[in-house]
Amino acid sequence: MNTKKRIISALLGGRVDRIPAWIPVVSVTVDMMEKAKAPWPKAHSDPQLMAKLAAMPWELTRMPSTTIPFCLSLEAEALGCELDQGTVNRTPSVKKPAFAGPADFEMPDDLLERGRIPVVLEALEILQEHLGDEIPINAKVTGPFTIAGHVFGVSNFISWIKTRPEYVHQSVELACEVTKELVAAFVQHGAETLIVSDPTSSGDLLSGEYYREFVFPYHKDTADTSRAPMVLHICGNTKELLPHIRETGFDAYSFEEKVDVMAAKRILGDDISLIGNVAPVATMLQGTRDRVTEEAIKCMHDGVDILSSGCTLSPMTPLENIRALVIAAEKYRLAKTPDELIREFGRGLAIGMEA
């Protein structure tokens, strides 16, 4: 089975020969920028450099990730937010909201020509041309709730949940149009898989009920919009959101180590593939190779369908730790004989008893 097929099959819940390692969130590091001579922030706005850098995880570590853009501010910038351009190890971020309320929001007709969106589209074409046969070309879109938070100001926007719920619905609906338009454009320009990253809808900020009311309909809408396999990523502790996420219609869910894999599996079942969830800071950034391997095996044991880091890698992450993740997935042996299965079943039973 080749890398591309394996990942897409695992994403859609199908047959695979082994669990693939694939980081759908951004996984480029400072070392890669040096090798590719494509440092941030330059690589955010030059299609050649962006594509070159996005190919680095595959070229240097065999981690088949090509996720672009590298930041979450692409959409906000196109909608008129002022950005801080960031540095070599810091992504651009939104400085100021663009609008005071949903009434000010104007959906631009030329969205795809605004800001750095053309850069990303061109980079996707380059990546598709060079790597399209080997690995899935993955693109990242910011989720509607996060876009709304950016353009209206997070604190302001979150407070509307209590004061003006109708504003929240209007804003997220507008933002959702942006998300959907980008999804369509990315697919048209060569993206084969998509990740919708919506950190502002995290369980650290919202309760399950709020998620259901203000985020769920728009996630569902986004998931229904494209024929490409789609991953949802939400940071933080999202335990209370899981029963709702199960119903969104996304093909896979990528989550942080704050949510236990086995607990997530019990809630999500086979309805949605699990991607995760080696700790990005404590393990990938600060840990040794052995620690990465150990945690990777635990994740696979507990039931992830695709082995990944729980969230975007820090740009200072050592290459050997990313490599360790790839090797762990390659070496992880599946239980094959009935004996082994019975033993593992017993283990599962024992763990169930503990819980």
Binding site: R18, D84, N89, S155, S159, S207, E240, G269, V281
Partner: protein, 258 residues
């Protein structure tokens, strides 16, 4: 057929079933238990509010995050002759305290906290005694790391620390270490709080800490946020706080009269 991985068969199906079987045995039920999240206890706001009127209704307005209602409740209490200090400490702050307690138990969420802090500040302004009242436990400075523009976590901590009776001076987001040193010299705070969500920005805390040391300023430096952990804090003499509650505990420990 799906692969027979541990995740494929044990983690995914059998383990799930095994867990269910155990639950059924435990509960003595015959039907499978669905995967539902434990029901949270209903928030008990009533029990956290002060007992006497009108302080109770002032606190309730703050907890409900109602800015205008808080203002008018404070006004009428002042007309009734209750002094501003009592209104602030026994009314406004108790309301904020109640909502932060609910937040710690995951019975209230960020929207509630943000609104309550707005109401708190409005009420404080109304009784015109904000500074006097909040001097009682000391001043703390709060900021996000240089380069980090995420301020929601910082705002929550600021609101909860304020609710616990400290005067919080907010230096804002992405604060240059030089400005921090100046502010520390100017306000002579009890502690400095830093929040960082992006791992690439947290090293700014080390820079600030080194600069403080160079200036011979000895001040507790509390750090927190998604990018920080205890191991990071150990690199210098920083104090790691996991959540807003921990910040308050640390501050209370620093306060000499406590």
């Amino acid at each position: 057929m799906r692969p027979l991985t541990l995740g494929g068969i044990v983690g995914r199906r059998y383990r799930q079933d095994a867990g269910e079987v155990m639950e059924i045995i435990k509960l003595g039920q015959s039907a499978p238990v669905s995967h539902k999240i434990e029901e949270r206890q209903k928030p008990d706001l009533e029990g956290l509010l002060p007992e006497n009127e009108p302080l109770k209704s002032i606190a309730r307005q703050v907890a409900d995050g109602k800015v205008e209602e808080t203002k008018s409740a404070v006004k009428s209490a002042m007309v009734a002759g209750i002094d501003a200090l009592t209104i602030a400490i026994e009314g406004l702050l108790k309301g904020m305290d109640a909502i932060s307690t609910l937040y710690n138990h995951r019975q209230a969420y960020v929207p509630e906290i943000l609104l309550a802090s707005k109401a708190l500040y409005a009420g404080m302004e109304e009784c015109g005694s904000r500074l006097d009242v909040l001097k009682r436990k000391g001043i703390v400075l709060i900021h996000t790391a240089d380069g980090d523009l995420h301020d929601i976590g910082k705002n929550i901590v600021a609101a909860i620390v304020e609710a616990n009776g400290y005067r919080v001076i907010d230096l804002g987001t992405s604060v240059d270490p030089v400005l921090i040193i100046d502010a520390v010299k100017k306000h002579k705070p009890l502690a400095l709080i830093g929040s960082s969500l992006m791992t690439s920005t947290r090293s700014a805390f080390l820079v600030s800490s080194d600069m403080l040391k160079k200036e011979n300023i000895d001040i507790p430096f509390i750090v927190g946020g998604g990018a920080c952990d205890a191991a990071f804090a150990k690199q210098r003499d920083l104090i790691y706080a996991q959540d807003p509650n921990a910040v308050v505990r640390i501050l209370d420990g620093l306060h000499p009269t406590n």
